[in-house]
Amino acid sequence: MADNGELRHIAKRKRKNRLFHQLFFMSTCFGIVALALLLIQVLVQGAGWLDWDFLTSYASRIPSRAGILAALVGTFWLMVITAPLTFIIGVATAIYLEEYGKDTRLSRLIQTNISNLAGVPSIVYGLLGLTVFVQLLSMGRSLLAGALTMTLLVLPIIIVSSQEAIKTVPQSLRNASFALGANRWQTIVRVVLPSALPGIMTGSILSLSRAIGETAPLIVVGAVAYVAFLPSSPLDTFTVMPIQIFNWASQPQAEFQNVAAAGIIVLLIMLLSMNAFAIFLRNKYQKKQ
């Protein structure tokens, strides 16, 4: 008789388990559904506005004539400056922290500092760029000032991912190189880096895709939304895709929302193909190991 109550209790616990299984599953689906809705919304609004003219025209006050050319080229030049700078500074810092300064007080300081920097809101980097690059170094509201600001912003990401990549290189490879008479630097250049390169590349691509999508710091640094020419030097004013999209999205006319959606499609295609390439690199590398 007592067993009856116990069985009921067990059944209740099992029901509870099933109920929460469903709830947890639904919360997992929530993120996926939100992503799907977001993509559908953007595609439905923007697909009709996306054509060759859109890619090759400048911004305009008339929605049907507006294009993304200046922003597309601006983003491209921003990357041309930011990519090599972040790569060199980021990888150099990672090598220093992992290969030379391991467990010294200086490297622990730098390490804590980097993880704190990663938590600073991006708009604060904008204030840094505005004050140091635009005002103090009098670069003006230029492409160069924007690119340097972006470099500082994504540095923590590329440093941490390069460190992870360097950490995965087995110590035995380094020891073999030392045993053959190579010094530290030769070992790093000929053994450690080649073996860590796919991981470093993956991190670099991901950090660049972060830079391409960032808006707030560049608004503060002063990228302008109405640019009807292509930048011809690093000191020219410029615009980038997210800022152009922001500008269209904040226009009161409903048609500009569609133009913004078309811009978002271009931006997302660019980002998704970069991420896909990064994932491809990672998978290829993981299979090899």
Partner: protein, 307 residues
Amino acid sequence: METELNTQTTDFTKKKKMISSDVLIPKILALFAFISIFTTVGIVAILIFESVNFFRAVPFLDFITGTKWTPLFEPAQFGVLPLIAGTLMVTVIASIVAIPIGLGSAIYLSEYAPARVRNIVKPILEILAGIPTIVYGFFALTFVTPLLKLFIPQVEIFNALSAGIVVGIMIIPIISSMSEDAMVAVPNSLRNGAYALGATRFEVAVKIVVPAALSGIVASFVLGLSRAIGETMIVTLAAGSLPNLEFNPLKSIQTLTAYIVSVSSGDTRYGSVEYLTIYAVGITLFVMTLLMNILAGYISRKFREEY
């Protein structure tokens, strides 16, 4: 004999070169590593320096306790509380969305999901984390706000609710992936012990795994919220630009970040008091997120359970 001598000298110069490269190169690399320190020093120095200039014109107490923020109108008033209230309102709404859903999906992925499902879902969450915030802002403005309007007709075009919900969606991947990492790190022996006593999957998850991973889970909440406080484009696009000390989520508000954007995209004169406000607001934002990040680090170190 002579050739031998020659090879010896080249050997020596080679060795000298090798030694010098091992002396010089760490120093060059250290210079690059210092750039990140300079960045921090630069941020802190600039925020403090320009804020001090601001507080010469506006008393600190008026700034921190004032309830009116009208720096661009006459009479200019510089009370930061409306901006802080706006930021906190968006953050609270975001956490109401993101904490249960993020934790729920972390429990599902770590305790319930078969490997096959996990391999599909995790990359999708990664994509969600990689979407630029400007796209989320567009989504809030053109999808979530009209949707809310269907259910609550008095919603304004720019409102804190829509922005908060979408900021919540944005931080779900952060909370979910960090919490999941903490749960996966809980050793299986603990789970098996509970199963052997007849516990259901739910009981194992809630009574064993979550308590054991609590420090990591709470740290993920705090980091997610810190991200919500610093989020800029979603609130700029969807929450509007009316800094009122109000707690009605259906109305337009302004956050700390959105204010900085609105001043920077206008044409305020360099060096004027209005211009200096962005640094005072910036240092407020910086201190808030810094405290949150330190708290997150403290929680995950202090309360970590070692197995």
